[in-house]
């Protein structure tokens, strides 16, 4: 199976003025919010990215549609490396990769009707003839499961689920290879979330789409993604096939994350919990070493990604012997 998108050693940095950015008190300068991240999205598959708030998930999403320039590393789309300084390359990138943002209210222009919002996607891509617009819009509205009557509606007249469907329609109105979905259902009720997830899966097989799917809900992640990456403070700690990572997590952070997933089988809370450092990352060693229960001397160096076989990789010295 070929890769639609290949991300290699991606690093995205923010300029930080002075110290004390949130909790990590550091000096000013550059801060790598996404640090040396590599993964592939295969054709017709979903790559899921999980991680805590502030781990850099959305920054990767923005880089994947050219809204953020990498400091180093590369993004390849259909084997072509994107030069972020070239406008033509950005256009190429966006013709192939669409995006649905997390906030359905903020990402739809309140003064445009649904059909105009979707049309903007067509205008921006410049791949369709103007006369084809209306037909294409009707087609795509049908695909995402919106009623024809919604075409004349303004975003405020739509429910949360319908708004996300409009965003999705805008993202796929130009036939694309991949859609970046940044927490597409986190603001929706569980029953509406289920409907939207069903639609997403349906479209994936119908249009042979690939998804880059961000969520902090591991149940949703399991259900949606073929492969999965775990991000922590800008570092990818573990990546592999979803089933392997969920059932056999290797990195101590993933182990803890998976044990916190609420399931339908009732897990009684203990009401007790080990006292841990609030949050934090180490500037020099493994990003998780400051809070890791299994930290040892070696962790003061940054661990490389160790290959555990069967596409399963973990950035943790505990798994060094596997190599």
């Amino acid at each position: 199976m070929s890769n639609i998108v290949e991300v290699n050693n991606l690093t995205v940095s923010f300029i930080v003025r002075g110290g004390n950015l949130l909790l990590f008190e550091r000096g000013g300068g550059m801060m790598d919010v996404v640090n040396d991240v590599s993964f592939n999205v295969r054709e017709g598959e979903t790559f899921g990215l999980a991680g805590e708030t502030g781990s850099g998930k959305s920054v990767i999403a923005w880089a994947l549609v050219g809204l953020m320039k990498p400091r180093s590393g590369s993004i390849r789309v259909l084997a072509k490396e994107i030069d972020f300084r070239k406008k033509a390359d950005i256009t190429y990138l966006r013709r192939n990769v669409g995006i649905v943002f997390q906030d359905p209210v903020g990402s739809l222009n309140p003064r445009l009707r649904v059909k105009e919002i979707i049309r903007e996607g067509l205008i921006a891509a410049k791949t369709f003839d103007r006369r084809e617009y209306d037909g294409r819009i009707e087609e795509v509205v049908d695909l995402v499961g919106l009623r024809k009557s919604s075409l004349e509606a303004y975003p405020r007249e739509l429910s949360g689920g319908e708004k996300q469907r409009v965003s999705l329609a805008r993202a796929i109105v130009v036939p694309r290879k991949m859609v970046v979905l940044d927490e597409p259902t986190s603001s929706l009720d569980v029953s509406v979330q289920a409907q939207v997830l069903n639609t997403l899966k349906d479209l994936k097989s119908k249009l042979n789409l690939s998804y880059f799917f961000i969520t902090h809900d591991i149940n949703v992640m399991k259900y949606m993604s073929d492969s999965l990456g775990i991000l922590y403070y800008g570092k990818l700690l573990e990546v592999g096939r979803t089933y392997d990572v969920v059932t056999n997590p290797k990195h101590p952070f993933t182990v803890r994350l998976m044990s916190n997933v609420p399931g339908l089988k009732r897990t009684k809370l203990q009401g007790r919990e080990e006292r841990l450092t609030e949050q934090g990352s180490s500037a020099t060693g493994c990003v998780y070493s400051k809070v890791c229960p299994r930290v040892f001397e070696k962790c003061s160096n940054p661990p490389p990604m160790f290959n555990l076989g069967a596409d399963h990789h973990a950035a943790c010295f505990l798994h060094e012997q596997a190599n």
Partner: protein, 333 residues
């Protein structure tokens, strides 16, 4: 759960609430009854617009009237009829009696106050309503103790921080701190873990459970997340369109939900892996309270709908296991 103390702490009986809107009156709660025993954690779950937050706000009497209009029913907290209480009585009950924590910790905390000043406000209430004399030193100790109880690291450091300098999980714990510093007998928690990471969410749930166990504080846990509710609650109330559709013990509802709505809610939670079949989601979305259907309010979305459901709203049926369900399917033939 503290056994042996099964006395009612809060009793809501047939509460019916309207909001006056520009489009006319909207029925937000219809004959809602619930009880919370001492030391018990009770979950109120439902989707947006089901009335769960309105119920919480009605109990602590934070609804402005107008637009809110309580048509019928009673809310009794420890022999106090809250609907008849005047402002002086209410301010004695709020805080040491009933505390509330809101979803948006960033909005619930005053952005220009440091943590110590936020907590001082609550302690000030204790001073005034309880006539307690608390020295500045004791006040400081109380604050540090509370933050320690909430397992915040470096309490002294947190006390000096403004809300925007704290992470979401820390902020939420500060707002919980503001409520529990007054040692309420009942804590109303409105979506307190929503928007937090699973890991932080789990931490907060553990802290709340621990608090409940140590101090016997009863809790009303409002959430749209059935899984979260099922982790912490002893009993559940499942709401839809302003009605309690099903109530019962958490384990019982988890294992055998009786109302089709509850069943659908559980079924909509993704459980399998990527090759799992489509989720059996209920069709449609949360109902428009201005245009509710006749009969059972869930009937347009219900997979098991019968003619009777469209004609007449079902009464409360009690099951053998003591749970209560608002559904004609439970009618004994």
């Amino acid at each position: 759960m503290s056994e042996g103390a099964k006395a009612d702490l809060l009793k809501v009986n047939g509460l019916t609430l309207d909001y006056a809107t520009v489009d006319g009156r909207v029925r937000v709660l219809e004959k809602v009854s619930m009880r919370i025993n001492k030391g018990e954690i009770v979950g109120v779950v439902g989707e947006s617009g089901s009335g769960k937050s309105s119920l919480g706000l009605a109990i602590i009497r934070l609804l402005d009237s107008p637009p809110a209009d309580i048509i019928d029913g009673s809310i009794v907290f420890e022999q106090n009829d809250l609907l008849r209480a005047n402002n002086t009585e209410l301010s004695r009950i709020r805080g040491p009696g009933i505390g509330m924590v809101f979803q948006e910790s960033l909005a619930a905390l005053n952005p220009v106050y440091r943590t110590d000043a936020q907590l001082r406000e609550s302690i000030e209430v204790l001073r005034r309503t309880q006539g307690l004399s608390i020295s500045d030193k004791a006040e400081r100790e109380m604050m540090v103790d509370i933050l320690n109880d909430l397992r915040l690291d470096r309490p002294e450091w947190v006390l000096k921080k403004y809300p925007h300098e704290l992470s979401g999980g820390m902020r939420q714990r500060v707002s919980i701190g503001m409520a529990i510093v007054e040692r309420p007998k009942l804590l109303i928690l409105d979506e307190v873990t929503t928007g937090l990471d699973v890991y932080v969410q789990n931490r907060i749930l553990n802290i709340l459970k621990d608090l409940n166990r140590r101090t016997g504080t009863a809790m009303m846990f409002i959430t749209h997340d059935l899984l979260v509710a099922s982790q912490i609650c002893d009993r559940l109330y499942v709401m839809y369109a302003g009605r309690v559709m099903e109530e019962g013990g958490t384990d019982f509802i988890l294992n055998s939900p009786a109302h089709p709505y509850t069943q659908k809610l559980f079924a909509a939670i993704p459980q399998g892996f990527v090759d799992a079949p489509p989720l059996p989601a209920p069709k449609g979305e949360a109902p428009d309270l201005r245009k509710l259907p006749s009969g059972c309010k869930f009937n347009p979305r219900c997979p098991l709908v019968m003619q009777k459901c469209r004609d007449t709203e079902p009464p409360v049926f009690e099951t053998n296991q003591g749970s209560k369900v608002l559904c004609w399917l439970l009618e004994k033939k």
